[in-house]
Each structure stands twice: as C-alpha cells, then as structure tokens.
C-alpha cells in the first residue's frame, strides 16, 4: 500500500470513529435535552391546565356566596314554610341556574335537608348531609369547593336528564361534579347552605379551553399538538383526545400503569403515554374530592412526534456540521500529506530510475526540510554513481578491446597451428610409411644397429604424429569449428567398435585385452565426432600407459539423465599429487613411472573441453601401482531425431 493510501485510510478510520462517537454523544445529548425540555413544558402546561380547571370552580363559588347574602333566600331559610316566597325564590334561582349553566342549584337547611331543588322542584326534603361538600361546610362553616363524584341514585334525585347525559357521554351513569357548597350565616349561626355545581361528563368547554389556551389549537401532521382530558377514576369523561374515527374519545380508559400510579398511589405521572393511537408526552395529576379521596385525573399531553422530528432535525444539523467539518479536515490533511509525500514519491521514482540504470536523473529540491536534505543527498549519490559508471564503462570498453585482441591473437595462433599441423600431417604419414617399410625389412635385411636407430626415429615420429593429431583436434575445437552437432548415438556399435578396430594393432602389440561392458542399449545424445576424439584419447592413453598384458575395461552406467562412461586400465596409476594437473593444457605426467612415455599434454585437455561442451564432467580415480580409471558424464538421449 502506498504511503498516501495508508495516511488516507488512517485518517478515515480516525474520522469515522470520531464521527460515530460524536454522533452517539450528540444523539444521546439531544435526545435527553429535548425529552427533558418536553417534560418541563408538559409540567408547565399542567400548571396552566390546573389554573383553568380551578378557574371553573371560582365563579361557581362566587355566585353561591353572592346568593348566600341574598335577603330573600335568608328569609326563606328563616321561614321555610312560606310557600309563596319559596315559589318566588325557586323561580328566581332556576333562572340563575340556567343562566349560569349549572346542573344543580340547591338550597339546604342547616341539617342538610333539601329545601329547594331548582332543577327538580318537586323532589325535596331529602338529606344531603353525606355529600362531601355539605359535609365539609357542616364541619367547618366555610365554603367548600372542588370536584366530587355523584352516584347514580344522587343524579336521579337531582333531576331528570342527568343520568341519561352521563351514560350517553361515557357509559358510566355516575357523574363528576365541579361545584361548591357555601354556608349561609346569620348572627354567627348557620341557617342554611347553597350548593351549586356543574357535571363535567360530556362537557367540552373546559378541556377545549385548556387546549386552546395552552396549545393554541395547533395541529401537527393532522394530529392536535396538545390534548387535555378529565378522568373520572380511569374513565375519560371529558376530552379532546380523538379516537380513530376523529371523535372525542370519551368513554375510553387510561392504561393500567397510569391508573395504578395516579389513582392508587396518588402521584403525578409524567412520561410518554400511548394515547388512543399516538404517543404523547403526558402528565396525569390526581383530582381529589373535598375529603381528599382521589376521584379522577387531569391530563395534558403534547404530541411526541413534534419533538421527535425536532430532535431528528437537530441531530441532522449536528451531524451535517460534523460531516462537513470532517470532510474539510480530511481535505486539508490530504493536501498536507500530499505536499509532504510528493517529494518522497519523486525520490522513490528517482531511485527506481537509478536502479534501472538511469544515472542522469535528478530529484528537484524544493523545500529545506528533511525530505529536501534527502533529495540533495540522493542527487549527490547519483552524480557520483554516474561518474563511477562512466569510469567503469571506459574500463570495460578497454577490457573488451583487449579481450578481442587476445581472442584474435589466439585465433590466429590456433589457425596457424592448425594449418601447420595439417601441412605436416601428410608428409609425416608418408615418412612413417617409408620408415616402417625399411625398418620392417620389406626392402631387404637390416642389421640390429640399423634397426635400433630406425626404431628411435620411429618413436620420435610417433610422438610427433600424436602431437599433430592432438593439435589438429584442439585447434578445430578452439576455433569453434567443432560446434556440437548432437545426435542420438548408439554408443557400442556406432563408436566403440570402430575406435577399437583402429587400435587393434596397438593392442596386439602390447598383448592387451579389452573388456567392453557397455550395454548395446546405451544411447547418448552427443556429437559423434567429438565423442570419438574423447574415446580415441582415453583408449590411446590406456594402451600407452597400461601394463603389458593388462586389461582395459570400458563401462557405462546410466543415471537419471546422464550416462557415466569410464575407461580403466591396469598399470602404474596416477599419484594424488598429479591428479589436479591431469586436465590442464600442456601438463605432462613427468614422473619416474612414465619415464620414456612422453605425452603431448593436450589429449586430456581436449577431452575435458569436449565433455564440458556437452554439459558433462570428467575426472580420474587411481590406485597407485594398480590401476587408473577415467570417467566422464554425457547427457542421455533425450531428443527424437
């Protein structure tokens, strides 16, 4: 991976981790904040709702207290039997009840007995001392206001139509009353009580006032943002929460969890509430009657979706800022690293060119920083290398010229040697023929002294002849004339037989025996003429240096892809000191054992050259005084011809 890519990957990983951490923290923070904020607002809404709820009771109390000061009512209380007065007051109060939209307006005797029931004038004389408002007034002689639940029986007593209304609105025949009972005091003595009240069941006035005042009747995505409900126990009796069909959801009940918390334990409940079909951030407060019994709940709720969307927006804004910031940071980082890495890249490029032999390339040095120093050092190094290479090239050219010269000289020498040898060969052949013709007595008897002298000439001529043949082989080999022409050779019949035939006379002369262990199946891949020179030389040596009457053994062993060939003869052998010299050009075995058997010092060298041209090796083993064996390797037949 390139450095730039590594840096980029590193920074992207760091940024990604950072972005994830910041995003999580942001979401948690925004979440907590918006929810807390929402809950605070719901608490405030609840206080406003209570104000409105309590505000409903205030005018009722005021009206009742004004009525309590009314002289005619006092007169009636002082003389309940005055039927005319009773009728007149009843009519007047009924008018007030209707005007004030009260459901009940009763005048009670000091013991709680109903003297006047404006809504249902014919039904009177019952005792309401058990009514929580009345009970409190009797106990304290003070006004009692608030909410209370009226039973089915009580509603029936209060007049026709009320039970029908409660049942119709929420299914429960009981009613929740908001109202007041005030004492009528004369000379410090309780002479009666006035009770007024209005049923909340089915009334929409209060909850809608809460909604409108607090939430300004706002809608969000088709849902009212704010809702308010009055519960009687756990039953919605007055609400602007809507059900699935868009109707007011009166008659439905609150969840068990909320009911338990608020109705049974008397605590406020704040939190998310699933109201009918939507989540609201809600608060439920208990409503108590004057005796302190929990009789219902007041609820306000604000649509949660609004806050969720707000939260999403805030998070989106935060995250966009983070992303934009990170992109900017990354770009800045990218340009900085690039400006740092560019010179490094150029250095790397320059190093590549240098290593591929372009010594002339220089790195531009722009900055005076570490990379700049490195670039300058690099340039210095490249200059020195260039200078050195120039010197080396010059030296090399000189060497090559010298080498060519030497090769030419050697070639000339070899050509001359070859020419001379070749020119000498034929006269020598006829000289030897003539000599032997005389020596062998074909031209007449010769005496022993003459024969000895001729024998000496013959030996010299034979050495001469051997040397010439060797020089011829060698000069052809070194001139490159003898390029390898590899063919598949059936070693025994193609090569060994003719060579041995050529040595038949010499073998007979020394009474030597040849044991040929080379299998007829041995096939080699070699140049036939060159291989023949090798065998000629080795067998000729074996005969020359072998013991009279000894054995010459020829062998061939096949390895994996080479054949090891050997020529062994009985004889003096070769001392270990001589071994290393054997295959050197012009080296001779000048040891006492070989006195009088001069070699040309070329035969084994030629053999070595030929074997190595075939990709093989040649070596010798010996047991001094017993035998010597020359071995060489030649590739097996591996081609089809």
């Amino acid at each position: 991976m390139r450095l730039q890519a590594k840096f980029n990957l590193g920074i992207i990983i760091i940024f990604t981790i950072l972005a994830i951490v910041i995003a999580v923290v942001t979401i948690i923070y925004v979440d907590n904040n918006t929810i807390r904020e929402a809950e605070n607002r719901v608490r405030i809404y609840m206080r406003a709702a209570w104000e409105i709820h309590n505000g409903k009771v205030r005018p009722i109390r005021a009206s009742a207290e004004i009525l309590a000061q009314n002289q005619r009512i006092r007169d009636l209380l002082n003389d309940p039997a005055d039927k005319a007065l009773s009728k007149a007051v009843s009519e007047k109060l009924e008018a007030i009840r209707q005007e004030q939209e009260m459901d009940i307006l009763n005048v009670l005797a000091p013991d709680g007995t109903v003297l006047l029931r404006t809504r249902y004038p014919y039904n009177k004389g019952d005792n309401l001392a058990a009514d929580p408002f009345v009970q409190q007034v009797l106990a304290t002689k003070q006004s009692s206001v608030g909410n209370a639940i009226l039973s089915l029986e009580r509603l029936d007593i209060e007049g026709p139509g009320l039970t029908e209304r409660t049942i119709a609105s929420s299914g429960d025949p009981r009613g929740m009353l908001v109202g007041a009972a005030v004492p009528v005091i004369q000379d410090g003595r309780l002479i009666g009580m006035i009770q007024m009240g209005s049923l909340l069941n089915g009334s929409i006035d209060e909850v809608d006032r809460i909604r409108d005042a607090v939430f300004e009747n706002e809608y969000y995505q088709g849902k009212p943002v704010g809702t308010a409900t009055i519960f009687m126990d756990d039953l919605r009796i007055s609400t602007n929460v809507q059900d699935n069909q868009g109707r007011r959801a009166v008659g439905t009940r609150v969840s068990r969890e909320v009911a338990e918390h608020v109705l049974e334990r008397g605590l406020s409940w704040t939190g998310r509430a699933f109201v009918v079909d939507t989540w609201y951030l809600s608060q439920y407060d208990p409503i108590k009657d004057p005796d302190g019994n929990i009789i219902g709940m007041l609820y306000v709720g604000e649509l949660e979706q609004k806050y969720l969307d707000l939260r999403t927006q805030v998070v989106a804004v935060y995250l966009s800022v983070i992303v934009v910031g990170m992109v900017l940071a990354f770009l800045t980082f990218f340009f900085i690293t690039r400006s740092v890495l560019n010179p490094v890249r150029k250095l790397s490029e320059a190093t590549k060119r240098l290593s591929s032999g372009d010594f002339g390339y220089r790195v531009p040095v722009r900055n005076k920083d570490e990379v700049g120093d490195l670039s300058a050092s690099f340039n210095h190094m490249a200059e020195q290398l260039e200078a050195q290479r120039g010197q080396i090239e010059q030296d090399q050219q000189e060497l090559e010229a010298l080498n060519r010269e030497l090769k030419a000289t050697n070639r000339n020498y070899m050509e001359m040697l070859g020419f001379v040898s070749h020119e000498l060969k034929n006269p020598l052949a006829s000289s030897m023929m003539s000599l032997y013709t005389v020596k062998d007595g074909y031209l007449g008897e010769i005496n022993p002294a003459q024969e000895k002298s001729l024998e000496s000439v013959a030996q010299s001529l034979e050495y001469f002849q051997e040397m010439i043949l060797n020089y011829l082989d060698l000069s052809r080999l070194e001139k490159g004339e003898l390029e390898i022409k590899e063919t598949n050779i059936s070693l025994g019949p193609d090569l060994i037989s003719p060579v041995l035939a050529g040595f038949a006379g010499a073998l007979q002369e020394k009474k030597m025996r040849v044991e040929n262990h080379i299998p007829d199946s041995t096939v080699l891949c070699a140049d036939s003429d060159l291989l023949r020179i090798v065998y000629d030389n080795l067998i000729s040596n074996a005969i020359k240096y072998g013991r009279d009457g000894g054995t010459i053994m020829l062998d061939a062993f096949e390895n994996r892809n080479m054949v090891t060939l050997s020529v062994r003869n009985d004889g003096q052998g070769i001392s270990p000191e001589m071994m290393p010299k054997l295959f050197k050009k012009f080296s001779r075995l000048d040891s006492p054992e070989y006195a009088g058997k001069k070699g040309t010092g070329l035969g084994l060298y030629t053999c070595k050259e030929i074997v190595e041209k075939h990709g093989g090796e040649i070596w010798a083993n010996s047991k001094l005084g017993e035998w010597v064996m020359f071995s060489f390797t030649i590739p097996k037949s591996n081609k089809e011809f």
């Binding site: 060969k425 034929n426 006269p427 020598l428 052949a429 006829s430 000289s431 030897m432 023929m433 003539s434 032997y436 013709t437 062998d440 074909y442 031209l443 002849q465 003719p498 050529g502 006379g505 003429d529 023949r532």
Partner: protein
C-alpha cells in the same frame, strides 16, 4: 609363380603414392597410380586392376571425391566387382561409406584405412581381399 596382382593407387599425396608403390612392388604386386580421381577412373577402365586404394579428398582441379568415385566404379559394368580400400586421413570421411552402407545393395568398398598407417596394416588389409601373396 602366378601372375602378379595389379593394384591401382589413386591419391593426391605424391610421396605417399611413391612409398606405397615401393612397398607393394617390394612385396610382389604390380602397381599403377593416379594423382587425380578422374584420371584414376580412366586408368581403372584401361587396366582393370585387381584392387584399388582410394583416397577421399583430392587437391587440385575439381573432380569427384573418393565416395563419388567408388559409386561410379560400382555403376560401371566393367568395374563393379573391383574391390576398393578407402585410405584417408579424415576420420569423418572414413565414416561416410559406412553410413551409406544400409542404403546400397552393394558397395565395392571392402575396407578403410586411416592415415597414417603402417606397412603391416596395409598389407594385412590387402591380403584379406586378394588372398596371401605369392
């Protein structure tokens, strides 16, 4: 005493021809010779020798080499049964007639002798073909 056998020597080496002639006459053969292959062929047609000693490569004016000449001798009705001994200093050339062997139904070449050779070697080969000399 039977009639002397006639041996024709065809070789461009004057000295060698001289030496061989001296030796062969000394041991009782009649010797004729030619220094060029073409002339040798003419001489063979005239004298109908009992044996021909033939060199392979000839210097001088262009003419058939030893192998070509031995083929021509074989194709000539008068000379096709005349035995030939190839005498050469060129080892590769010595192998050539051998290699031709399997393709030919008959070649007059009876033996090969590598230069340089000794009198014994030459005489042995001649006697193998012509039988013991008188």
């Amino acid at each position: 005493m039977s009639e002397k056998k006639n041996i024709l020597v065809i070789d461009d080496d004057v000295q060698l021809v001289d030496t061989v002639k001296t030796l062969l006459e000394a041991v009782g053969y009649q010797v004729s010779f030619a220094y060029q292959s073409e002339k040798g062929f003419e001489l063979a047609k005239q004298t109908k020798p009992d044996l021909i000693l033939l060199d392979i490569m000839f210097a001088g004016p262009p003419g058939p080499d030893g192998v070509e000449l031995s083929r021509r001798l074989h194709e000539d009705p008068d000379l096709k049964d005349t035995p030939v001994i190839i005498v050469s200093g060129v080892k590769q050339a010595l192998d050539m007639p051998i290699k031709l062997g399997p393709d030919e139904t008959y070649m007059p070449v009876k033996a090969f002798l590598e230069k340089p050779f000794k009198p014994d070697q030459l005489l042995t080969q001649i006697e193998k073909i012509l039988g013991p000399r008188a």
